[in-house]
Symmetry: C2
């Protein structure tokens, strides 16, 4: 029973991970506001960065983000900022993720509106990235952010790197912000019954896009010392195109080459309902099925 | 991302399946009302009965039901009613089904409140049934309804069958109503690659509760002539206790005795999200998983 209300998620990254007082002020616009829900925020001291996850109605989320970006611009001075994570602005990146009753096109539109509003309200230049990118070279965030805060004044003078909104000059203390749109990620790990990380690496190589695997898989091998096993750890960047079960079964198939068993798997953080239901559909051989048939129950304990 | 709002489903059965004018008036209280959504209604002429499915916030659904039961009492005269389906009242049965952020205990409580309000507002005697039943003999609706409208005046005189609300006398034209609570059903069919319905019947017998199978399965065999196959057709009456995958795998296992393949399966009507995610969890060997991790996306086409 799909509700008709559109729901978007937004994962805003700010360059402040140490001063809890400032962080509280920055996230204030996401609290107790009609149509916006603050789901989670995680500050990292070494990164000197906080990642804030909010969900809600597109217009309400946009307005809260614009307001919060203004507070971050007042409280964070990038000229003295240090931390281990790449960054180019007080509000560094703002990805929008369509969750319910929204297409990617609508999420891209929302990203553009938000980018425009941020620039108009706070005079911060904004790049659009990922699905909202205005050209292919701007899709990858790492490319956009290359040079970081310190390199941005120079980078913005290059006509290739004219911001999508705003002038070719950084905000003196808040730098530059990237606003984008992407699919919900599935962070997914598959456990292998071997302590040999070489095998996990080889399987990761087979399934990931960059070395010939599935289009929407980024993967690597990792050792889980305390359990004496290894994992193929991955991000599924579009579960509607590369299914969870398909990756799981492929890893099982490849593991056989090494006489290794697959023990199970785990999702890290949140997982889209459809990514799991799609797998149930495969394993149960469900025909004549569509997501319209699903009632969003929460009864199991 | 569970919303905290409680959501209940209610499937109200009225003894009018022919006069669309009357049906429109009866379902009017479910339309355009804050907190109530009319999902579906299906009138059957032979049964002379309409099944109305609504969903929403408990209090709002209760009030709409009470109002609608009053309209049905005015428009339907059971003394002249005829139809092929068993019935005992103008509003025949009112089951409440917990959907979100509600326990069965709360659904039972809602059923009792609704039953009381129906009796007080319209002077219709009410039986509680299924999970709301006041004694074991009243759990089964068929037992409660035995004797039907015509037999009720006599039945109500039996102290064993004193109504849970109201006096021991039927409403002269609206009869008696049953209000209950139950889990969401999963109507589920598994396809067998054989035209021999005997095999489907034998497998149905193995899995159903009544003949030694799973506690929450009611099943039978059926021939699908146009496809040259048979099905094990079933209701899973509590998917939190008897899982979809467990029944599917058991049917596969039993089908092997007859050298028959399982072709696939289908859910009929709506299916609770958790019933499918539970199966995904099994097949993917997901550990460390809980329903809190699920974001209720709707992006797939």
């Amino acid at each position: 029973m799909a509700d008709i209300k559109k729901i978007v998620e937004c994962v805003v990254n700010y360059s402040e991970g140490r001063d809890l007082n400032k962080i509280e002020k920055i996230i204030e616009p996401y609290r107790a506001k009609e149509g916006v829900k603050l789901l989670n925020y995680e500050a990292d001291k070494d990164y000197n960065r906080v990642v804030v996850t909010v969900m809600g109605e597109p217009e309400a989320v946009k307005n809260a983000v614009v307001q919060s970006v203004g507070i971050a611009a007042e409280l964070i001075d990038m000229t003295t900022h240090e931390g281990q994570h790449s960054r180019m602005g007080a509000t560094d990146v703002v990805p929008f993720i369509p969750i319910k009753n929204m297409s990617m096109t609508e999420a891209v539109e929302l990203a553009k509106e938000t980018a425009k509003a941020i620039n108009e309200a706070h005079d911060i230049p904004v790049f659009l990235y990922e699905k909202a990118a205005s050209k292919p070279e701007r899709e990858n965030l790492a490319t956009v952010r290359k040079g970081q805060f310190e390199g941005m004044p120079e980078k913005l003078k290059d006509p290739e790197w004219k911001p999508d909104f705003g002038k070719c000059e950084i905000h003196p203390t808040a730098g530059v912000t990237a606003v984008g749109a992407r699919m919900p990620l599935v962070a997914y790990n598959i456990d292998l019954d071997t302590p040999n990380v070489e095998i996990a690496n080889k399987i990761a190589k087979v399934i990931r896009h960059s070395s010939g695997g599935f289009r929407y898989i980024k993967a690597g091998g990792v050792e889980i010392k305390e359990r004496g096993i290894t994992q193929v750890t991955m991000n599924i960047t579009d579960y509607t195109k590369t299914s969870v079960y398909r990756v799981f079964e492929t890893v099982k198939m490849e593991a056989k080459r090494y006489g290794v068993n697959v023990l199970g798997s785990e999702v890290v953080g949140l997982v889209p309902m459809e990514a799991l239901i799609d797998s149930a559909q495969y394993y149960l051989g469900l025909y004549g099925f569509s997501m319209d048939k699903v009632i969003e129950t929460s009864l199991m304990e």
